[in-house]
Amino acid sequence: MSAIPLLLYVAASAAYAVHFGRRSDLAGRCATLVLAAAALTHVFVIGMQTMESGHLPVVGTSGAISGFVVLLALAYLYTEMMTSERSMGVFIVPAMAVLQAIPTATNAVASRPPVLESQWLAVHVLSLLFAYASFALACVVGVTYVLLFKELKAKHLGFFYSRLPSLRVLDVMNGRAVAIGWLFLTLGLVVGAIWLAQVQPGAVDPRVQAMSLFDPKISVVLLIWLVYTFELYARRSLGWSGRRAALLSAVGFTIVLLNFVPIGYFATRSHNFY
């Protein structure tokens, strides 16, 4: 059952690739439909897991990845609806498929240690996941911006020129995605800190004890916050936009991914709830 969303994400990736390569409208509509089906079944699977375990299955890294993927799918579908622009799908949906393979392979829902039984934690995790989903969108939009920019600059109008929306649209999308992501990132961090301040004094769990600015997961997320804060500042006050902003958001999301997967699984001592 939990493999169905993965299969649908893979199918949607293929359909988006056909849509992009051949510019087939039909393939595009199919892709959107399949992706919507993937997101729906994914929500359903997460709902089942919630009922089974009695809490949102976003405790361990695998669960968090699954949550991230579904939020990314929903955020992407929303952008597609708002901009009626399907050309981004080929860049972003395959990432969903790859990431979703991790929770599908591990499958089991991590049990929730008593220390995490707090409403704050749900807000913390969901905000951060949503922030990461936004950053993922911003990154993809930024990369496509750079691709189109290069073609226009080189006066060689080819593959991307005929498939992507205008530079301006891409730039605005990137700016919005970063702004929304930054808001949720900040919210998630603040809520996490409030929760920590409440539980840390009396906690015996070594993971809670390890939660400090020096834990890799936490220090890297602060770095991420700095990167995106700088992007927002540079956009507003330094007049940065276009290529520089796009590259910055690509750098930011690369760090997000590193923090999510390798650091989340291997390096952190504070956030390893399996």
Binding site: L157, L167, S241
Partner: protein, 447 residues
């Protein structure tokens, strides 16, 4: 029933002749009216654009139609037949269909794939249909050509890519800025090219157009024509900072806008892009300005090479388009041929109905004793019996697409059921039955 087309286009006639035989001068409705009065065609559509004047018809005798239509065109436009005839082309049946489908798809256009022609074909058909000059065949052929034209266009991407320099510039601007509303444009130079591009930009609703020219009166005149404001010549460099698009098209021998100008103008605005279209020969803008990060500098050669590429791409898609057209033509011709069975179907049905009526009349004395309900029952049973007997042969006839087969069947049925021996006026007493059969038939054939 034959399809017949007579016309002239940019392929066959020089521009001065095309101008003289343009139907829109005296009016397409009038032309259609006169065709209806003066010739023996059953259906007609007149397609008149700046590149073609064509008459699509359905007639009994194509040779005769060709003569009368040539005479009509000569008379209508007041062009001697001897002068007109060498530039006219005639097409028959499948070639008419192919020609129309190619026209609708933009394959026959001067600029291959140009999109306006489809709308013009639609208008031509609507005009003719509204005045009742079209019938079963053209009512089918023209809508079919819209679908076919559209399908070919989208499947092959025939109409993609700008094929004129000023459109290429607009397309680039749209790729950089998205919507062009709210953009600030500066024209440097007040020549023809500047004006053409400005007119296109105005159509895209840019917010402001500044016009600068060495001769300020020319700048003011052009500003007046394109709804912009004149900018003093010495302010050009300062003005750059506020612009999104610069169109430079002067006859100046040395660059007017240097890299330093652009650098200085853009420093305060950082990453906001500037699109410079340099259509001046020699160039008006220092090519080094294109090295600046947010500057997109395209000169006339860049734009021309884009246009060339687009034209070449259109050309390369032609083969596929022609194949698709062939396919559509075959399907239409299959429909047209299957219509050959219609008269036989009608005759057969009428024959059977006549037999039924005759038998009922003969039995009238015996039936008189029955109750009205029972008589109605007899009526119904006989009608159903005839219908059942005819349903399979009708279906088979309709499904026969091959012309020779249809003819063979028709002959056989004529012979077996003595269809041709029926008095002709008999047929006219039941026009409703014929119309009904025809309608049912057409319904079934609809895709």
């Amino acid at each position: 029933m034959n399809l017949f087309l007579l016309g002239a286009s940019h392929h066959s006639a020089p521009i001065d002749l095309r101008e003289r035989i343009d139907f829109t001068r005296r009016g397409v409705p009038e032309a259609l009216g006169e065709i209806g009065r003066r010739t023996a065609v059953h259906e007609a559509v007149v397609l008149s654009t700046c590149n073609r004047s064509e008459i699509y018809t359905v007639c009994d005798n194509p040779r005769h139609a060709g003569q009368t239509l040539t005479a009509f065109m000569s008379g209508f436009h007041d062009v001697p037949e001897s002068e007109l005839a060498p530039h006219l082309y005639a097409r028959h049946d499948a070639d008419v269909v192919r020609h129309l489908f190619r026209v609708a798809a933009g394959l026959d256009s001067l600029v291959v794939g140009e999109p306006q022609i489809l709308g013009q074909v639609k208008d031509a058909f609507t005009d003719a249909a509204r005045q009742g000059h079209t019938g079963t065949v053209l009512n089918r052929l023209f809508p079919w050509s819209f679908t076919a034209g559209k399908r070919v266009r989208t499947a092959t991407g025939l109409g993609e890519g700008a094929v004129s320099v000023s459109y290429a510039a607009i397309a680039l601007a749209r790729k950089i800025f998205g919507k062009l509303e709210n953009l600030h444009v500066l024209l440097v130079g007040a020549g023809e090219m500047a004006e053409l591009t400005a007119t296109h930009l105005r159509a895209q609703q840019v917010r402001e157009i500044g016009v600068a020219n060495r001769t300020s009166s020319h700048a003011e005149a052009l500003a007046g024509r394109v709804g912009g404001t004149a900018v003093p010549w010495e302010r050009v460099a300062n003005e750059l900072g506020a612009c999104d698009i610069v169109v430079a098209a002067t006859g100046s021998a040395s660059p007017i806008i240097t890299r330093a100008d652009v650098d200085a103008a853009l420093r305060p605005r950082l990453d906001r892009p500037l699109f410079i279209i340099d259509i001046g020969v020699p160039r008006d803008v220092d090519p080094a300005a294109g090295d600046i990060e947010q500057v997109f500098l395209y000169n006339i050669d860049d734009l021309r090479s884009i246009v060339q590429e687009n034209l070449a791409r259109r050309q390369s898609r032609l083969d596929r388009a022609e194949l698709m057209i062939d396919d559509e033509v075959n399907r239409f011709m299959a429909w047209l041929r299957s219509r050959a069975a219609v008269p036989t179907v009608i005759a057969l049905r009428e024959r059977f109905e006549a037999v039924r009526q005759a038998e009922l009349a003969r039995l009238q004395p015996k039936l008189a004793g029955l109750s009205p309900a029972a008589r109605a029952r007899v009526e119904e049973v006989t009608r159903l019996l005839v219908e059942k007997l005819l349903s399979s042969p009708t279906e088979r006839l309709k499904a026969t697409a091959d012309e020779e087969d249809v003819a063979a069947y028709a002959e056989m049925l004529n012979h077996l059921f003595k269809l041709s021996e029926r008095p002709q006026d008999d047929r006219e007493t039941e026009p409703e039955a014929a119309a009904e059969a025809l309608a049912a038939f057409s319904r079934d054939r609809t895709r």
